[in-house]
């Protein structure tokens, strides 16, 4: 017999955008307290806390959060996993509940990125009088611009272009159309950082960041937080009907990493790990793609939308 199902009984997210007056702990607290209220619980009910934050990965944001909203002595896991950081915090809470270590888990993802600039770019190395090789490539200077690019819009532009080269038909215009569709969706979400509709022309003629990625085709750096409360079956049964009737079952939760394929250390292969995750999720849930009416897909840049929806 398998372990019990896990249910989401509370969730909340802050508005994404610029929050200069709030720090990471303020944003995490806001989402956490509201998610607890949504679940009709307090910190005294929570048995495990998973907190995702990338930019302050060594700062123990989970413990800092507890010190503001409730120190109950429960285990705290601080996680960092690039774009999947918040989702990994949720994965940690789910695993702890599934493993039977606790009945109630809380997951929080929080980031302050407004003004962070282009991610992935390494700063200039300290000036040395002589050429000094360093790092795994024995480079004597920053590789940015010398050996291609490390900046995220550039790396993922290449992922999209490689897809176009391999399968054909993926033009600048097609990539821009994906952005047009996504910006149209944002107008329906009051918590989205940007809620402005863009025409295809506006997108294609905006500032070029890394061809074919123009500015509106890239994820804007912003601030925000989200939190979720998860419980197992037994706990759910003990909760008031007001909570039970809104509970959402997690039919599958899967985390993968990129298995080795030729060239994956030269340009990341984002397709195999996504396909593997989807396959495992369908298996866990016992359904197939034909059973789904809606797919919400996160991708940091528009080009990934195409390469990951068609795999």
């Amino acid at each position: 017999m398998g372990s019990e199902d896990v249910w989401i009984i509370g969730s909340n997210m802050t508005k994404f955008g610029k929050h200069p007056e709030k720090d990471v702990v303020d944003l995490a607290s806001e989402a956490s307290v509201s998610a607890l209220r949504d679940a009709e619980m307090t910190m005294s009910d929570v048995g495990v806390l998973g907190v995702g934050n990338l930019m302050n990965a060594g700062a123990g944001i989970g413990q800092q959060l507890q010190k503001q909203i409730g120190q109950t002595g429960i285990p705290v896991f601080n996680v960092s996993n690039a774009c999947a950081t918040g989702a990994t915090a949720l994965r940690v809470a789910i695993m702890a509940v599934k493993a039977g270590e606790t009945d109630v888990g809380m997951a929080v993802g929080v980031e302050k990125l407004a003004g962070a600039g282009l991610l992935g770019q390494r700063g200039p190395k300290p000036k040395s009088e002589t050429w000094e090789p360093s790092g795994r490539f024995g480079a004597i200077g920053s590789t940015e611009g010398r050996i291609g690019t490390n900046i995220m819009p550039g790396v993922f532009a290449q992922v999209g272009m490689e897809y176009g080269h391999k399968y054909g038909g993926a033009s600048f215009e097609l990539f821009a159309k994906i952005s047009e569709k996504n910006h149209a969706h944002s107008t329906l979400n009051p918590l989205a950082a940007y809620q402005k509709r863009f025409t295809l022309d506006e997108i294609m003629n905006d500032v070029m960041i890394a061809y074919p990625n123009t500015r509106p085709m890239c994820s804007g750096n912003c601030d925000g937080a989200a939190a979720m409360i998860v419980v197992n079956d037994s706990k759910l049964q003990s909760l008031p009907i007001s909570v039970r009737k809104r509970a959402v079952k997690i039919s599958a939760s899967v985390l993968t990493s990129d298995p080795w394929v030729e060239g994956c250390q030269v340009l990341p292969d984002v397709n195999t790990l996504t396909r593997n995750a989807a396959t495992q999720a369908y298996e866990q849930a016992g359904i197939g793609p034909e059973d789904l009416d809606l797919v919400e897909l996160h991708a940091v840049l528009q080009l990934l939308n195409l390469s990951t929806t068609t795999i």
Binding site: P133, G138, I140, Q158, E162, G263, V266
Partner: protein, 142 residues
């Protein structure tokens, strides 16, 4: 000192340790003895088959652009590309080509080239590499 002697006294270092300098510069990969997977960085073990024995192999100096982007955020735009060198993908900057989508094409034939990055306080010259449109393919297209 004659010009020739002066030339010979200049010490050169490659920009990265997988660039091998000489009369005919080339890139050099660590190839796994067991599964033949190739890597450009210093290795602890093979990411594909976990073996820890490698042999240095020479990468052919010509290839085909399988992906590129033109980074326009810096003071000077540059072309980052992935070049397939007979089955070994290489990351590089394309040089000697206008950084525009009209000039850079997927599938274009390119070849390895090197250039000087200047000399340090001890007179050592650093040499970097890039790929540039192949002379043969340019002649053919004309």
């Amino acid at each position: 000192m004659t010009d020739l002697e002066n030339l010979e006294s200049i010490q050169q270092v490659p920009f990265v340790d997988y660039l091998v300098l000489g009369e005919h510069p080339y890139l050099c990969a660590n190839e796994c003895n067991q599964c033949k997977a190739r890597f450009f960085d210093r290795r602890n073990a093979c990411a594909s088959c976990f073996s820890d024995e490698f042999t240095k192999v020479r990468i052919v100096t010509t290839g085909e652009v399988t992906s590129f982007t033109i980074v326009e955020m810096g003071p000077v735009p540059y072309v980052s590309a992935i070049v397939d060198c007979e089955g070994t993908p290489v990351r590089c900057t394309l040089i000697g080509v206008d950084p525009t989508p009209e000039e850079v094409q997927l599938g274009m034939k390119v070849e390895l080239t090197t250039y000087s990055m200047g000399v340090d306080s001890e007179g050592t010259e650093a040499i970097a590499f890039g790929f540039t449109p192949s002379k043969k393919s340019m002649k053919r297209s004309k």
